[in-house]
Protein backbone atom coordinates (compact mmCIF):
# COMPACT_ATOMS: atom_id res chain seq x y z
CA UNK A 1 0.00 0.00 0.00
CA UNK A 2 2.82 2.37 0.88
CA UNK A 3 4.39 1.52 -2.46
CA UNK A 4 1.22 2.48 -4.30
CA UNK A 5 0.97 5.79 -2.42
CA UNK A 6 4.61 6.47 -3.14
CA UNK A 7 4.11 5.63 -6.78
CA UNK A 8 1.14 7.98 -7.10
CA UNK A 9 3.02 10.76 -5.37
CA UNK A 10 6.06 10.46 -7.62
CA UNK A 11 3.86 10.02 -10.69
CA UNK A 12 1.98 13.25 -9.95
CA UNK A 13 5.16 15.15 -9.30
CA UNK A 14 6.64 13.97 -12.57
CA UNK A 15 3.52 14.92 -14.54
CA UNK A 16 3.53 18.35 -12.93
CA UNK A 17 7.11 18.99 -13.89
CA UNK A 18 6.49 17.87 -17.47
CA UNK A 19 3.38 20.04 -17.75
CA UNK A 20 5.54 23.12 -17.33
CA UNK A 21 6.15 22.76 -21.06
CA UNK A 22 2.56 23.11 -22.22
CA UNK A 23 3.23 23.90 -25.85
CA UNK A 24 5.57 20.97 -26.10
CA UNK A 25 2.91 18.71 -24.59
CA UNK A 26 0.13 19.85 -26.92
CA UNK A 27 2.37 19.70 -29.96
CA UNK A 28 3.66 16.25 -29.18
CA UNK A 29 0.16 14.94 -28.44
CA UNK A 30 -1.23 16.34 -31.69
CA UNK A 31 1.63 15.07 -33.78
CA UNK A 32 1.64 11.62 -32.19
CA UNK A 33 -2.05 11.29 -33.07
CA UNK A 34 -1.33 12.50 -36.61
CA UNK A 35 1.50 10.01 -37.12
CA UNK A 36 -0.53 7.08 -35.78
CA UNK A 37 -3.43 8.12 -37.94
CA UNK A 38 -1.26 8.03 -41.08
CA UNK A 39 -0.18 4.51 -40.26
CA UNK A 40 -3.73 3.28 -39.88
CA UNK A 41 -4.89 5.27 -42.88
CA UNK A 42 -2.63 3.17 -45.10
CA UNK A 43 -4.28 -0.05 -43.96
CA UNK A 44 -7.71 1.54 -44.20
CA UNK A 45 -6.99 2.54 -47.80
CA UNK A 46 -5.94 -1.00 -48.70
CA UNK A 47 -9.06 -2.45 -47.06
CA UNK A 48 -11.33 0.15 -48.65
CA UNK A 49 -10.06 -0.93 -52.01
CA UNK A 50 -9.91 -4.68 -51.57
CA UNK A 51 -12.62 -5.33 -48.97
CA UNK A 52 -10.89 -7.65 -46.55
CA UNK A 53 -7.61 -9.37 -45.79
CA UNK A 54 -7.94 -13.12 -45.38
CA UNK A 55 -11.48 -12.68 -44.09
CA UNK A 56 -10.64 -9.87 -41.65
CA UNK A 57 -12.69 -6.72 -42.18
CA UNK A 58 -11.67 -3.11 -41.61
CA UNK A 59 -13.57 -2.99 -38.30
CA UNK A 60 -11.91 -6.13 -37.04
CA UNK A 61 -8.42 -5.00 -37.95
CA UNK A 62 -9.20 -1.57 -36.51
CA UNK A 63 -10.18 -3.33 -33.30
CA UNK A 64 -6.89 -5.26 -33.12
CA UNK A 65 -5.00 -2.07 -33.91
CA UNK A 66 -6.72 0.21 -31.40
CA UNK A 67 -6.73 -2.32 -28.55
CA UNK A 68 -2.98 -2.70 -28.89
CA UNK A 69 -2.48 1.05 -29.22
CA UNK A 70 -4.38 1.66 -25.97
CA UNK A 71 -2.55 -1.11 -24.13
CA UNK A 72 0.75 0.34 -25.23
CA UNK A 73 -0.30 3.85 -24.20
CA UNK A 74 -1.20 2.63 -20.69
CA UNK A 75 2.10 0.78 -20.38
CA UNK A 76 4.17 3.71 -21.57
CA UNK A 77 2.32 6.25 -19.41
CA UNK A 78 2.52 4.21 -16.21
CA UNK A 79 6.04 2.85 -16.68
CA UNK A 80 7.62 5.72 -18.56
CA UNK A 81 11.37 5.34 -18.44
CA UNK A 82 11.53 1.56 -18.27
CA UNK A 83 11.63 1.80 -22.04
CA UNK A 84 14.43 4.38 -21.89
CA UNK A 85 16.74 2.43 -19.60
CA UNK A 86 19.61 2.61 -22.08
CA UNK A 87 20.07 6.29 -21.28
CA UNK A 88 20.51 5.42 -17.58
CA UNK A 89 22.87 2.54 -18.26
CA UNK A 90 25.10 4.37 -20.71
CA UNK A 91 25.29 7.64 -18.79
CA UNK A 92 25.60 5.98 -15.40
CA UNK A 93 22.47 7.76 -14.18
CA UNK A 94 21.21 4.51 -12.74
CA UNK A 95 23.71 4.94 -9.91
CA UNK A 96 21.75 7.96 -8.74
CA UNK A 97 18.52 5.99 -8.70
CA UNK A 98 20.23 3.24 -6.69
CA UNK A 99 21.00 5.68 -3.91
CA UNK A 100 17.36 6.66 -3.48
CA UNK A 101 15.44 4.94 -0.65
CA UNK A 102 12.85 3.48 -3.03
CA UNK A 103 12.94 0.47 -5.35
CA UNK A 104 14.85 1.24 -8.57
CA UNK A 105 11.99 0.04 -10.73
CA UNK A 106 9.57 2.38 -8.99
CA UNK A 107 11.95 5.29 -9.52
CA UNK A 108 12.41 4.39 -13.17
CA UNK A 109 8.66 4.14 -13.75
CA UNK A 110 8.06 7.63 -12.43
CA UNK A 111 10.82 9.47 -14.26
CA UNK A 112 9.79 11.77 -17.10
CA UNK A 113 6.18 10.62 -17.10
CA UNK A 114 4.57 11.54 -20.40
CA UNK A 115 0.80 11.54 -20.79
CA UNK A 116 0.39 10.09 -24.29
CA UNK A 117 -2.81 11.99 -24.98
CA UNK A 118 -2.52 11.62 -28.75
CA UNK A 119 -2.38 7.84 -28.63
CA UNK A 120 -5.19 7.64 -26.06
CA UNK A 121 -7.53 9.85 -28.07
CA UNK A 122 -6.75 8.20 -31.38
CA UNK A 123 -7.04 4.69 -29.91
CA UNK A 124 -10.33 5.48 -28.20
CA UNK A 125 -11.91 7.12 -31.24
CA UNK A 126 -10.88 4.25 -33.49
CA UNK A 127 -12.11 1.66 -30.98
CA UNK A 128 -15.48 3.39 -30.61
CA UNK A 129 -15.90 3.54 -34.39
CA UNK A 130 -15.09 -0.14 -34.73
CA UNK A 131 -17.48 -1.00 -31.90
CA UNK A 132 -20.26 0.92 -33.60
CA UNK A 133 -19.66 -0.88 -36.86
CA UNK A 134 -19.45 -4.31 -35.26
CA UNK A 135 -22.50 -3.73 -33.04
CA UNK A 136 -24.56 -2.45 -35.95
CA UNK A 137 -23.67 -5.55 -37.94
CA UNK A 138 -24.70 -7.68 -34.97
CA UNK A 139 -21.29 -9.30 -34.90
CA UNK A 140 -20.78 -8.53 -31.20
CA UNK A 141 -23.02 -7.75 -28.23
CA UNK A 142 -22.74 -5.20 -25.46
CA UNK A 143 -20.89 -7.74 -23.35
CA UNK A 144 -17.91 -7.19 -25.63
CA UNK A 145 -17.29 -3.78 -24.04
CA UNK A 146 -16.35 -4.94 -20.53
CA UNK A 147 -14.50 -7.86 -22.08
CA UNK A 148 -12.47 -5.49 -24.21
CA UNK A 149 -11.67 -3.35 -21.18
CA UNK A 150 -10.24 -6.44 -19.52
CA UNK A 151 -8.26 -7.29 -22.65
CA UNK A 152 -6.77 -3.80 -22.82
CA UNK A 153 -5.68 -4.00 -19.19
CA UNK A 154 -4.20 -7.48 -19.57
CA UNK A 155 -2.55 -6.30 -22.77
CA UNK A 156 -0.89 -3.40 -21.04
CA UNK A 157 0.49 -5.82 -18.44
CA UNK A 158 1.81 -8.07 -21.21
CA UNK A 159 3.46 -5.17 -23.01
CA UNK A 160 4.90 -3.91 -19.74
CA UNK A 161 6.34 -7.35 -18.96
CA UNK A 162 7.89 -7.65 -22.43
CA UNK A 163 9.26 -4.13 -22.00
CA UNK A 164 10.71 -4.94 -18.60
CA UNK A 165 12.29 -8.16 -19.86
CA UNK A 166 13.92 -6.27 -22.73
CA UNK A 167 15.04 -3.47 -20.43
CA UNK A 168 16.56 -5.97 -18.01
CA UNK A 169 18.64 -7.44 -20.83
CA UNK A 170 20.31 -4.04 -20.76
CA UNK A 171 22.14 -4.99 -17.55
CA UNK A 172 24.20 -7.37 -19.66
CA UNK A 173 24.08 -5.61 -23.03
CA UNK A 174 24.12 -1.91 -21.99
CA UNK A 175 23.10 -0.85 -25.53
CA UNK A 176 19.59 -2.25 -25.56
CA UNK A 177 17.70 0.10 -27.88
CA UNK A 178 18.17 -2.12 -30.89
CA UNK A 179 16.94 -5.18 -29.03
CA UNK A 180 13.84 -3.23 -27.98
CA UNK A 181 13.42 -2.39 -31.62
CA UNK A 182 12.75 -6.08 -32.25
CA UNK A 183 10.92 -7.15 -29.08
CA UNK A 184 8.79 -4.03 -28.67
CA UNK A 185 8.49 -2.12 -31.95
CA UNK A 186 8.70 -4.80 -34.63
CA UNK A 187 6.69 -7.34 -32.63
CA UNK A 188 3.97 -4.80 -31.85
CA UNK A 189 3.86 -3.70 -35.46
CA UNK A 190 3.29 -7.31 -36.48
CA UNK A 191 0.57 -7.89 -33.86
CA UNK A 192 -1.43 -4.90 -35.10
CA UNK A 193 -2.64 -7.14 -37.90
CA UNK A 194 -4.28 -10.57 -37.67
CA UNK A 195 -1.63 -13.20 -37.02
CA UNK A 196 -3.27 -15.46 -39.59
CA UNK A 197 -1.45 -13.39 -42.24
CA UNK A 198 1.93 -14.71 -41.19
CA UNK A 199 3.73 -17.97 -41.82
CA UNK A 200 3.83 -20.48 -38.96
CA UNK A 201 7.27 -19.56 -37.59
CA UNK A 202 6.42 -15.90 -37.15
CA UNK A 203 3.04 -16.69 -35.58
CA UNK A 204 4.83 -19.05 -33.22
CA UNK A 205 7.31 -16.36 -32.17
CA UNK A 206 4.51 -13.88 -31.51
CA UNK A 207 2.77 -16.39 -29.24
CA UNK A 208 5.78 -17.72 -27.36
CA UNK A 209 9.09 -15.87 -27.53
CA UNK A 210 7.55 -12.39 -27.70
CA UNK A 211 3.96 -13.25 -26.75
CA UNK A 212 2.40 -9.99 -27.83
CA UNK A 213 -0.27 -11.98 -29.70
CA UNK A 214 -2.02 -12.62 -26.38
CA UNK A 215 -2.58 -8.91 -25.96
CA UNK A 216 -5.09 -8.59 -28.79
CA UNK A 217 -5.26 -11.35 -31.38
CA UNK A 218 -6.01 -14.32 -29.11
CA UNK A 219 -8.82 -12.66 -27.12
CA UNK A 220 -10.20 -11.07 -30.31
CA UNK A 221 -10.70 -14.53 -31.80
CA UNK A 222 -13.34 -15.08 -29.15
CA UNK A 223 -14.75 -11.57 -28.71
CA UNK A 224 -15.12 -10.78 -32.41
CA UNK A 225 -15.60 -14.17 -33.98
CA UNK A 226 -16.80 -16.43 -31.17
CA UNK A 227 -14.07 -18.95 -31.93
CA UNK A 228 -12.89 -21.48 -29.32
CA UNK A 229 -14.60 -20.11 -26.17
CA UNK A 230 -14.57 -17.54 -23.37
CA UNK A 231 -11.60 -19.34 -21.84
CA UNK A 232 -9.44 -17.49 -24.36
CA UNK A 233 -9.90 -14.39 -22.19
CA UNK A 234 -8.68 -16.37 -19.22
CA UNK A 235 -5.69 -17.58 -21.21
CA UNK A 236 -4.60 -14.06 -22.08
CA UNK A 237 -5.11 -12.84 -18.51
CA UNK A 238 -3.13 -15.81 -17.20
CA UNK A 239 -0.40 -15.09 -19.75
CA UNK A 240 -0.26 -11.52 -18.44
CA UNK A 241 0.08 -12.60 -14.81
CA UNK A 242 2.69 -15.23 -15.62
CA UNK A 243 4.74 -12.87 -17.73
CA UNK A 244 4.60 -10.20 -15.07
CA UNK A 245 5.94 -12.63 -12.50
CA UNK A 246 8.74 -13.82 -14.79
CA UNK A 247 9.71 -10.28 -15.69
CA UNK A 248 9.92 -9.20 -12.03
CA UNK A 249 12.14 -12.17 -11.23
CA UNK A 250 14.36 -11.44 -14.20
CA UNK A 251 14.55 -7.75 -13.27
CA UNK A 252 15.75 -8.64 -9.79
CA UNK A 253 18.39 -10.97 -11.18
CA UNK A 254 19.53 -8.32 -13.66
CA UNK A 255 19.71 -5.60 -11.06
CA UNK A 256 21.88 -7.78 -8.84
CA UNK A 257 24.33 -8.12 -11.77
CA UNK A 258 24.44 -4.40 -12.48
CA UNK A 259 27.84 -2.86 -12.98
CA UNK A 260 28.02 0.85 -13.51
CA UNK A 261 29.20 1.92 -16.93
CA UNK A 262 29.20 5.69 -16.68
CA UNK A 263 32.18 7.91 -16.21
Amino acid sequence: MTMLRLYLLLFRASVRSRMQYKLNFLLSSGLAAFINLMEFLLIAIILQRFGDIKGWSLYEIGYLYSVLLLSRAIYRILASDVHHIEKYLVGGELDQLLTRPIPVLLALMTQNVTILLGEVIQGTVLLVLCFQGLLAAGQIGWLAIPQTALVILAGSVILFAIGLLSATAGFWLTRVRDLQNITEDAARNAAQYPLVLYPGWLRMILLTLVPVGFANYVPALYILRGEYGPWLLLVSTAAAVLLLWVSFRFWRLGLSRYQSAGS
Binding site: E39, I45, I46, L179, I182, A186, A190, L197, Y198
Partner: protein, 258 residues
Amino acid sequence: MLFAVLARKAYARNLQYRGSHLLNTIASSLFGFVYVSIWIGVGDNRTLGEYGVDGMVSYVAFNQACLWLTVFLTNGLGLETAVRSGQVSLDLMRPVHLFYVLMSREWGQLLYQLLYKVVPIYLLYVLALGIRMPERPVTWLWTILALALASYLSICIQYLIGVCALWTTESRWLVWVNIALSQLLSGFLIPLEWLPGWLQTVSRATFYPFLQYMPTRIYLEMEGPNVLAGTIGWCLVMTVLCLGITRLVRRKVEVQGG
Protein backbone atom coordinates in the same frame (compact mmCIF):
# COMPACT_ATOMS: atom_id res chain seq x y z
CA MET B 1 39.58 16.56 -50.67
CA LEU B 2 37.21 17.75 -47.98
CA PHE B 3 34.22 15.79 -49.24
CA ALA B 4 36.05 12.47 -49.12
CA VAL B 5 37.51 13.12 -45.66
CA LEU B 6 34.16 14.06 -44.11
CA ALA B 7 32.36 11.16 -45.74
CA ARG B 8 35.04 8.70 -44.68
CA LYS B 9 34.93 9.88 -41.05
CA ALA B 10 31.15 9.55 -40.87
CA TYR B 11 31.43 6.08 -42.37
CA ALA B 12 34.13 4.99 -39.92
CA ARG B 13 32.25 6.29 -36.89
CA ASN B 14 29.37 3.96 -37.71
CA LEU B 15 31.58 0.91 -38.01
CA GLN B 16 31.97 0.95 -34.22
CA TYR B 17 28.33 -0.02 -33.79
CA ARG B 18 28.09 -2.75 -36.39
CA GLY B 19 26.89 -5.29 -33.83
CA SER B 20 23.93 -3.37 -32.51
CA HIS B 21 23.08 -2.17 -36.02
CA LEU B 22 22.71 -5.81 -36.99
CA LEU B 23 19.79 -6.16 -34.57
CA ASN B 24 18.34 -3.00 -36.05
CA THR B 25 18.61 -4.48 -39.52
CA ILE B 26 16.75 -7.58 -38.34
CA ALA B 27 13.98 -5.40 -36.89
CA SER B 28 13.74 -3.42 -40.10
CA SER B 29 13.48 -6.54 -42.24
CA LEU B 30 10.74 -7.83 -39.92
CA PHE B 31 8.77 -4.63 -40.45
CA GLY B 32 9.02 -5.17 -44.19
CA PHE B 33 8.05 -8.79 -43.81
CA VAL B 34 4.81 -7.75 -42.08
CA TYR B 35 3.94 -5.42 -44.97
CA VAL B 36 4.73 -8.18 -47.46
CA SER B 37 2.45 -10.55 -45.51
CA ILE B 38 -0.37 -8.03 -45.68
CA TRP B 39 -0.16 -7.94 -49.46
CA ILE B 40 0.08 -11.72 -49.70
CA GLY B 41 -3.09 -11.79 -47.59
CA VAL B 42 -4.82 -9.23 -49.80
CA GLY B 43 -3.78 -11.16 -52.90
CA ASP B 44 -5.17 -14.41 -51.52
CA ASN B 45 -8.11 -14.43 -53.89
CA ARG B 46 -7.36 -11.42 -56.10
CA THR B 47 -4.95 -10.61 -58.91
CA LEU B 48 -3.63 -7.18 -57.81
CA GLY B 49 -3.59 -5.38 -61.16
CA GLU B 50 -0.47 -4.99 -63.26
CA TYR B 51 1.73 -6.06 -60.35
CA GLY B 52 0.25 -9.41 -59.43
CA VAL B 53 0.88 -10.84 -55.97
CA ASP B 54 4.49 -11.57 -56.93
CA GLY B 55 5.02 -8.06 -58.14
CA MET B 56 3.48 -6.51 -55.02
CA VAL B 57 5.74 -8.62 -52.80
CA SER B 58 8.73 -7.35 -54.78
CA TYR B 59 7.37 -3.80 -54.73
CA VAL B 60 6.91 -3.64 -50.95
CA ALA B 61 10.13 -5.53 -50.14
CA PHE B 62 12.25 -3.33 -52.40
CA ASN B 63 10.67 -0.22 -50.88
CA GLN B 64 11.48 -1.42 -47.39
CA ALA B 65 15.11 -2.11 -48.29
CA CYS B 66 15.48 1.39 -49.76
CA LEU B 67 14.16 3.21 -46.70
CA TRP B 68 17.68 3.51 -45.30
CA LEU B 69 18.72 5.52 -48.33
CA THR B 70 15.67 7.64 -48.87
CA VAL B 71 13.90 8.24 -45.55
CA PHE B 72 15.93 7.21 -42.51
CA LEU B 73 18.75 9.72 -42.60
CA THR B 74 20.39 11.51 -39.67
CA ASN B 75 17.60 13.56 -38.10
CA GLY B 76 17.91 17.09 -39.43
CA LEU B 77 21.49 16.16 -40.42
CA GLY B 78 22.38 16.61 -36.76
CA LEU B 79 21.66 20.35 -36.84
CA GLU B 80 19.23 20.21 -33.93
CA THR B 81 21.87 18.72 -31.63
CA ALA B 82 24.39 21.25 -32.88
CA VAL B 83 22.03 24.11 -32.00
CA ARG B 84 21.40 22.63 -28.57
CA SER B 85 25.09 22.36 -27.77
CA GLY B 86 26.06 25.60 -29.46
CA GLN B 87 28.33 23.74 -31.89
CA VAL B 88 26.48 25.29 -34.80
CA SER B 89 28.07 28.68 -34.18
CA LEU B 90 31.49 27.12 -34.82
CA ASP B 91 30.17 25.24 -37.84
CA LEU B 92 28.93 28.51 -39.33
CA MET B 93 32.32 30.16 -38.80
CA ARG B 94 34.15 27.57 -40.87
CA PRO B 95 35.37 28.67 -44.28
CA VAL B 96 33.23 25.98 -45.90
CA HIS B 97 29.55 26.16 -46.68
CA LEU B 98 27.40 24.61 -43.93
CA PHE B 99 25.28 22.67 -46.40
CA TYR B 100 28.36 21.25 -48.11
CA VAL B 101 29.88 20.03 -44.82
CA LEU B 102 26.70 18.37 -43.62
CA MET B 103 25.96 16.89 -47.00
CA SER B 104 29.43 15.36 -47.30
CA ARG B 105 29.12 13.82 -43.87
CA GLU B 106 25.71 12.40 -44.70
CA TRP B 107 27.01 10.72 -47.85
CA GLY B 108 29.43 8.78 -45.64
CA GLN B 109 26.55 7.84 -43.38
CA LEU B 110 24.49 6.72 -46.37
CA LEU B 111 27.33 4.64 -47.78
CA TYR B 112 27.50 2.83 -44.45
CA GLN B 113 23.75 2.30 -44.41
CA LEU B 114 23.86 1.05 -47.98
CA LEU B 115 26.47 -1.59 -47.20
CA TYR B 116 25.23 -2.64 -43.76
CA LYS B 117 21.48 -2.20 -44.04
CA VAL B 118 20.11 -1.81 -47.56
CA VAL B 119 22.15 -4.55 -49.22
CA PRO B 120 21.69 -7.15 -46.42
CA ILE B 121 17.93 -6.51 -46.24
CA TYR B 122 17.68 -6.66 -50.02
CA LEU B 123 19.65 -9.91 -50.23
CA LEU B 124 17.59 -11.41 -47.43
CA TYR B 125 14.40 -10.62 -49.34
CA VAL B 126 15.85 -12.00 -52.57
CA LEU B 127 16.67 -15.26 -50.80
CA ALA B 128 13.64 -15.57 -48.53
CA LEU B 129 10.91 -14.07 -50.70
CA GLY B 130 12.42 -14.56 -54.15
CA ILE B 131 11.70 -10.98 -55.14
CA ARG B 132 12.02 -9.99 -58.77
CA MET B 133 15.33 -8.89 -60.25
CA PRO B 134 15.66 -6.69 -63.33
CA GLU B 135 15.87 -8.60 -66.59
CA ARG B 136 17.84 -5.95 -68.46
CA PRO B 137 21.24 -5.08 -66.95
CA VAL B 138 20.79 -1.39 -67.78
CA THR B 139 17.89 -1.27 -65.31
CA TRP B 140 20.43 -1.60 -62.52
CA LEU B 141 22.10 1.57 -63.72
CA TRP B 142 18.83 3.52 -63.75
CA THR B 143 17.80 2.13 -60.37
CA ILE B 144 21.10 3.12 -58.77
CA LEU B 145 20.87 6.56 -60.34
CA ALA B 146 17.28 6.97 -59.13
CA LEU B 147 18.27 5.95 -55.60
CA ALA B 148 21.31 8.23 -55.56
CA LEU B 149 19.19 11.19 -56.62
CA ALA B 150 16.52 10.23 -54.09
CA SER B 151 19.19 10.15 -51.38
CA TYR B 152 20.35 13.63 -52.36
CA LEU B 153 16.76 14.86 -52.32
CA SER B 154 16.35 13.38 -48.88
CA ILE B 155 19.55 15.06 -47.66
CA CYS B 156 18.07 18.39 -48.77
CA ILE B 157 14.81 17.66 -46.93
CA GLN B 158 16.68 16.80 -43.73
CA TYR B 159 18.79 19.93 -44.08
CA LEU B 160 15.68 22.10 -44.32
CA ILE B 161 14.23 20.34 -41.27
CA GLY B 162 17.47 20.75 -39.36
CA VAL B 163 17.76 24.43 -40.17
CA CYS B 164 14.39 25.04 -38.50
CA ALA B 165 16.10 24.25 -35.20
CA LEU B 166 17.62 27.71 -35.42
CA TRP B 167 14.21 29.30 -35.07
CA THR B 168 12.21 26.83 -32.99
CA THR B 169 12.99 24.35 -30.25
CA GLU B 170 10.41 21.94 -31.61
CA SER B 171 12.02 21.14 -34.95
CA ARG B 172 12.47 17.52 -33.94
CA TRP B 173 8.78 16.97 -34.65
CA LEU B 174 9.24 17.87 -38.28
CA VAL B 175 11.33 14.73 -38.61
CA TRP B 176 8.32 12.67 -37.58
CA VAL B 177 5.94 14.61 -39.77
CA ASN B 178 8.27 13.96 -42.69
CA ILE B 179 8.32 10.22 -41.96
CA ALA B 180 4.53 10.08 -41.63
CA LEU B 181 3.95 12.05 -44.83
CA SER B 182 6.44 9.99 -46.72
CA GLN B 183 4.74 6.76 -45.58
CA LEU B 184 1.49 8.03 -46.98
CA LEU B 185 2.60 9.94 -50.08
CA SER B 186 5.74 8.17 -51.32
CA GLY B 187 3.89 5.03 -52.37
CA PHE B 188 5.93 3.09 -49.85
CA LEU B 189 3.18 0.62 -48.93
CA ILE B 190 0.57 1.32 -51.59
CA PRO B 191 1.36 2.14 -55.22
CA LEU B 192 0.19 5.68 -55.97
CA GLU B 193 -2.40 4.62 -58.53
CA TRP B 194 -4.30 2.78 -55.75
CA LEU B 195 -4.55 5.80 -53.45
CA PRO B 196 -7.87 7.67 -53.38
CA GLY B 197 -8.00 10.31 -56.12
CA TRP B 198 -7.46 13.39 -53.96
CA LEU B 199 -4.50 11.81 -52.23
CA GLN B 200 -2.95 10.94 -55.56
CA THR B 201 -3.21 14.57 -56.58
CA VAL B 202 -1.56 15.67 -53.35
CA SER B 203 1.14 13.07 -53.69
CA ARG B 204 1.99 13.89 -57.29
CA ALA B 205 2.36 17.55 -56.37
CA THR B 206 5.16 16.72 -53.93
CA PHE B 207 8.64 15.21 -54.19
CA TYR B 208 7.65 12.14 -52.17
CA PRO B 209 6.93 9.78 -55.10
CA PHE B 210 10.51 10.31 -56.31
CA LEU B 211 11.86 8.93 -53.04
CA GLN B 212 10.24 5.49 -53.24
CA TYR B 213 7.59 4.98 -55.90
CA MET B 214 9.66 5.96 -58.92
CA PRO B 215 12.90 4.13 -57.99
CA THR B 216 10.93 0.98 -57.25
CA ARG B 217 8.93 1.24 -60.48
CA ILE B 218 12.19 1.65 -62.37
CA TYR B 219 13.64 -1.38 -60.60
CA LEU B 220 10.57 -3.43 -61.53
CA GLU B 221 10.95 -2.23 -65.14
CA MET B 222 7.54 -0.60 -65.15
CA GLU B 223 8.98 2.85 -65.74
CA GLY B 224 11.77 4.10 -67.99
CA PRO B 225 14.67 6.43 -67.15
CA ASN B 226 12.65 9.42 -68.39
CA VAL B 227 10.96 9.81 -64.98
CA LEU B 228 14.39 10.72 -63.61
CA ALA B 229 13.85 14.15 -65.15
CA GLY B 230 11.32 14.78 -62.39
CA THR B 231 13.80 13.73 -59.72
CA ILE B 232 16.48 16.00 -61.15
CA GLY B 233 14.01 18.88 -61.27
CA TRP B 234 13.16 18.45 -57.59
CA CYS B 235 16.83 18.12 -56.70
CA LEU B 236 17.53 21.47 -58.34
CA VAL B 237 14.61 23.18 -56.60
CA MET B 238 15.63 21.80 -53.23
CA THR B 239 19.29 22.75 -53.71
CA VAL B 240 18.30 26.34 -54.41
CA LEU B 241 16.10 26.31 -51.30
CA CYS B 242 18.89 24.90 -49.14
CA LEU B 243 21.41 27.48 -50.34
CA GLY B 244 18.92 30.30 -50.00
CA ILE B 245 17.95 29.40 -46.47
CA THR B 246 21.60 29.11 -45.41
CA ARG B 247 22.02 32.78 -46.36
CA LEU B 248 19.19 33.62 -44.02
CA VAL B 249 20.71 31.50 -41.28
CA ARG B 250 24.07 33.27 -41.47
CA ARG B 251 22.53 36.64 -40.64
CA LYS B 252 21.57 35.88 -37.07
CA VAL B 253 22.23 32.83 -34.94
CA GLU B 254 20.90 32.10 -31.51
CA VAL B 255 22.25 29.06 -29.75
CA GLN B 256 20.63 27.36 -26.81
CA GLY B 257 23.54 25.65 -25.17
CA GLY B 258 26.68 26.88 -23.63
